[in-house]
């Protein structure tokens, strides 16, 4: 059933359809309407969950950790400084292998204070170990939330579903709201692998020694490094798990098929623009204009960022002349985070493309189609100019 609603409502609806059981969240622009909608769903009885208002994002994740450890399907949502506030708990949740799902309405980070969109918040968390999925429009938001719950419980790793604050969270567009019965067939009830159980008493995530040790039952227990090694291995294996889950989603709902990257006019392209989120869709208009002028260019949107689908990206970009990575984040003092990841994914290729990096849209600086067109035209006209310093789009007040 098609409805016209905001991205936040799309996310909330996805959470409701996924039958989340415990929701603990703290409001923060631009996520707030998502939490408000969820509390409406709980109040009206449409969602049979426990909604726990907390006094901070740090507590929101703490409550989710507790709820998940007790064996329930837990959800929270946040943005920007809220995500950073719970940073310590993010590390905990992933080390504890809890299948929590969180929506992040991407927003820039202070100082200076901003409420507008960029990707610095989730990018700053890319090393934590959470799975990171990015949605390009409202349909992808609701679909990815549902897939995220299944992925999280399949691999026992928490998943964050990210979408552009304001640009997606607050804009309205049509999307299909899946039927509850179909979602129930796609997403089985949560059967936790390890949970607090009085019948089987145990301690979770206590002080763990550097070395392995023998437990009271004679079983060898892993040390810290084994736990973390296993997390990394399971994250890499999650690439295949997500591909399977996405294939199954296509079977149930007729949509999807782009778990790692979503390509537009890339097959015969000499140049490829790469971006994350709604920007990758805005770039399609630019691609069409340049194609009309005879430039063989396409755009690729990265949908799964962690684990990084390096092989899929290497396959997609191998043989291209120039790849232009446009991003709304920066690893300060170095280069764009996505740019660095793509560069290393292409390292072993014999015929690797020239790479360009653009930083844009920080703090919600408006991104005009004309600016994208100018930047891509410039890159395509001088592709061999090898440079590692990011270029910037949309700066003002520069002498």
């Amino acid at each position: 059933m098609h409805i016209i609603e905001s991205g936040n409502v799309a996310a909330a609806t996805g959470v409701m359809l996924s039958r989340a059981q415990v929701i603990a969240a703290y409001p923060i622009t631009p996520q707030t309407p998502l939490t408000e909608k969820l509390s409406e769903f709980v109040e009206s009885g449409q969602l049979g969950a426990q909604y726990i208002p907390v006094e901070s994002e740090h507590s929101a994740m703490a409550v989710c950790i507790a709820a998940s450890t007790a064996g329930t399907r837990a959800f929270t949502a946040t943005s920007a400084n809220g995500l950073l506030y719970m940073n310590e708990q993010l590390h905990w949740a992933v080390g504890a292998r809890l299948p929590i799902v969180m929506c992040v309405a991407n927003r820039g980070i202070g100082a200076p204070w901003t409420v507008w969109n960029d990707h610095q918040d989730s990018m700053a968390q890319r090393d934590v170990g959470w799975i990171q999925l990015y949605a390009n429009d409202h349909q992808q938001i609701i679909d990815t939330v549902i897939k995220a719950f299944r992925l999280a419980q399949t691999v026992s790793i928490p998943v964050m579903v990210c979408y552009d604050g304001y640009l997606l969270s607050h804009t309205y567009m049509p999307f299909d709201r899946p039927e509850q019965s179909e979602v129930d067939r796609f997403l089985p009830a949560f059967a936790p692998k390890h949970f607090l159980d009085p019948q089987n008493p145990g301690n979770f995530n206590t002080v763990t020694l550097p070395d392995v040790r023998q437990g009271v039952d004679g079983v060898m227990e892993p040390g810290y490094i084994e736990i973390r090694h296993n997390l990394h291995q399971d994250l890499r294996a999650a690439l295949e798990s997500y591909e399977e889950i996405d294939r199954d989603f296509v079977k149930h709902f007729g949509r999807g098929g782009t778990p790692f990257v979503e390509e537009y006019r890339c097959d015969d392209a000499r140049f490829v623009a790469v971006a994350i989120g709604s920007l990758s869709y805005q770039l399609r208009d630019v691609i069409d204009i340049m194609r009309e002028d005879g430039i063989a260019i396409g755009v690729m949107g990265v949908q799964m960022y962690r684990p990084f689908p390096d092989q899929a990206i290497a396959r997609a970009l191998s043989g291209k002349e120039c790849v232009v990575v446009l991003e709304k984040a920066l690893s300060y003092g170095n280069q764009g985070p996505l740019y660095g990841d793509i560069k290393s994914a292409l390292y072993r290729l014999a015929d690797r493309p020239v790479l360009h990096n653009y930083i844009l849209g920080l703090g919600g600086r408006e991104i005009k189609t004309q600016q994208l067109l100018d930047a891509l035209s410039e890159s395509c006209s001088e592709p061999k100019a090898i440079e590692d310093t990011p270029r910037w789009i949309g700066l003002k007040l520069q002498e």
């Binding site: 100082a111 200076p112 204070w113 007040l397």
Partner: protein
Amino acid sequence: MAKKDYCKMISRSKPGPGDGGNTGSWRVMRPIINLDKCIPVKTGKIACFNCWLYCPDCVVTKTIPPTIDLSFCKGCGICAEECPADAIEMVDEASQTEKEK
């Protein structure tokens, strides 16, 4: 506002009228001071000046009588709320403007 020397390192703004724009136009309710009830006016002395003290936009003058700068008063009503003499009434802005026309 001319911004010839913007600070490159940090984000900052300096105090001054109108940094937020023509906020007086946002007003839906306008504060009207009843001079018969206003304590500084009645006593002729420096008295409470709660309106001046509590105004979040500093549009009330600490004078006898207090005056309100309507170019920036947003009509929040805090002055009316804090006045110990109930001397300030919040009236509908649209009707006031009609009356003045």
